[in-house]
Symmetry: C2
Subunit: 173 residues, 2 copies
DNA sequence: CCGTTATTGAAACAGTCGTACCATATACTG
DNA sequence: CAGTATATGGTACGACTGTTTCAATAACGG
């Protein structure tokens, strides 16, 4: 299970095939279906595991509670844009793209975005317009995702880092 | 060629297969390979055509030259987030995701991002820090792409529209 | 009109895919 | 120890993939 997630993170979701996955796990495709039922259920399980990892790892690397919104944002960006997170980021974009074509396979994809509001709503309270402000977290996460899109495409770390600086600057004034 | 692009925009890139495409075009897979050489070359041609369409359609729908940066941004968002552009947006995300796994297939993907700077650098000159400021367009496009990611996932038009309003607000002050 | 070239069709090739079937082996329970 | 449930290996099925091969037709230039 854990190693299956490792494999998907390393090789991507799009071209995932049972036989190579089984070979890498020293098993047979027969056993994968025996354990998970079908490929789609295996994928769901792997995605759940990947999300679980991402959530816990992020929680352990965030600035302390009392930090400012800007410090939180910089912490999130530093964490998610680090090269070690590249497989995880790639998986996010792969799932999103596949979900656009096959929404039926990802019934709770919207939650993956709205869930962040509970997590981030409090951390960005000093720049939010109110206690139930979902718009500010939406914008902040959009900046992060958009810059990730740019960074993963161009590899231009300097420019994307500076764009985040610019956004922080806008938030201060 | 045009109809091949229509088909890819309608059915997505990921599961593209020669036989169904040929059937939809009243041809044979034999002829597709005869005309394009290989599937990969066909995909490249289709992507080039799609990009051409996107560029010309956007150019024809932008506010006039003298408009403010905010008006331009709102124009871009209104255009790209319109439901009619959904297939085009989906294709962008599909190409990006596939490019993360197979960068070798998309040699000039980075240009697809940096090319915007020439187009948008001038339109955002009143909020840019200088004539060669690439950071401001980077941030603006990141907001647009990030909000598109959100909108295409959650379908929450109201929240994403308001997040763009919030960004415009930040830009003004 | 004939020979050459371009265009098209049908079928086959070699491979991969997810999955199902059948048998065997192991483990657990009574 | 007998018998049943659980786990695993091997294999085959049918469908699909991009691509190639062979053959036939159409078009065109001399």
């Amino acid at each position: 299970m854990a190693r299956a997630t490792d494999y998907v993170l390393a090789h991507g979701l799009a071209g995932l095939s049972l036989r190579p996955l089984a070979a890498a796990l020293d098993t047979s495709p027969r056993m994968l279906l025996y354990d998970f039922g079908s490929k789609q259920e295996l994928v769901s399980a792997v995605l759940a595991e990947a999300r679980r990892r991402g959530a816990t790892r992020l929680a352990g690397n965030l600035p302390p509670e009392a930090a400012s919104a800007e410090e939180h944002l910089r912490g999130i960006w530093a964490w998610i844009s680090a090269p070690e997170r590249a497989p995880y980021v790639r998986l996010i974009f792969e799932v999103h793209a596949d979900g656009l074509v096959h929404p039926e396979n990802y019934p709770n994809q919207a939650e993956a975005i709205t869930n962040w509001f509970d997590t981030l709503g409090a951390t960005f309270r000093d720049i939010a317009t109110g206690p139930d402000d979902t718009v500010t977290p939406t914008l902040v996460m959009a900046v992060v995702r958009g810059l990730l899109f740019d960074l993963t495409t161009t590899g231009d770390r300097l420019r994307t880092d500076r764009a985040l600086d610019r956004f922080c600057e806008l938030l201060r004034h």
